[in-house]
Symmetry: C2
Subunit: 180 residues, 2 copies
């Protein structure tokens, strides 16, 4: 997972996967049909991991929904510099293989939607708290937020910054201004 994450698909060979994991080619091709199948499995594992993380981060009901969202994205973005700006495997794979491999494409958009479904209730709660604009349906608003997050992840790969300023300012811009 970490190899695909950091190096991408075409820049990572099966030999390197085997070297890193201690598998041999025989074991690898016994367990997976091919490199693509291994990527699909990896994406699913990654998606489950992230989904659990999101659920965990957003579960805390002691703080307000909007602050939980802020804290969630802050944590993920501020971890980027120390993680060598590895970004998100789903985002990375969407970009590299989205138009080249439709099977992989639908696997990534499936995981992306899973992310949205986990985040949406908190967005809705923030809307009900009058902390986020109510003029947009919570599902679409969640998509906007997480899409921007993906954009920030991509651009921060080259600026080597966390990109959190952009994300934070963006979230505050979506804050309902009726309470100001």
């Amino acid at each position: 997972m970490h190899l695909f994450w950091a190096k991408g698909y075409h820049n990572l060979g099966v030999d390197a996967i085997c070297r890193e994991t201690g598998m041999t080619k025989g074991a690898f091709y016994n367990a997976f049909k091919n490199k693509e199948q291994f990527l699909l499995t990896t994406i699913e594992n990654y998606g489950n991991l992230i989904t659990a993380h999101l659920q965990n981060e957003l579960a805390n009901s002691e703080t307000k929904a909007f602050d939980r969202l802020l804290h969630l994205y802050k944590g993920m973005l501020e971890a980027q510099p120390e993680n060598n700006h590895i970004g998100c495997l789903v985002n990375n794979t969407m970009s590299e293989l989205g138009i080249l491999n439709s099977t992989v494409a639908s696997a990534t958009s499936y995981q992306f939607n899973k992310f949205l479904n986990v985040i949406e209730p908190t967005v809705k709660e923030a809307q009900q708290n009058q902390d986020l604009t109510q003029t947009i349906h919570s599902k679409l608003l969640t998509e906007i937020i997480h899409t921007t997050f993906f954009g920030v992840l991509t651009t921060s790969k080259t600026t080597k910054s966390s990109g959190y300023t952009v994300m934070e300012t963006f979230l505050y811009a979506l804050k309902n201004r009726s309470d100001e």
Copy 2:
């Protein structure tokens, strides 16, 4: 340019470049030091092309600044389905090579900033027209908008949609609500 754009860096060989352009390897390596140098040249050409396009699209002063922005992003996103969701070369390259090659990384972020500098005056104008939130500095607001655009481009590669709904709703969410 079109080859890097559609296939990415690692998935495109020098042989394929020569086949497509009619060059031979001798000519290629006489003109460019290596494949990376060719990518850097390509990114610069691409950046100039897009910068000119942005300038052209935003120059029209007959419509309001906010509507020009809307129209700009609408045009670029609605062209995606017919262009096989090729996206933006700068965005694609940022994602694939951002953490692997620092020279390419800074070339892409340089072009990204050029884009921002072209768009910013129109954003500022929209702010002055009270059509965009004034609480954020125009440069940062421009960065937020274009970063979200990049995010939309990436995710729409896998959903095969134009993604314009997300972008449009997003821009309207940044609209100053004092006039409603």
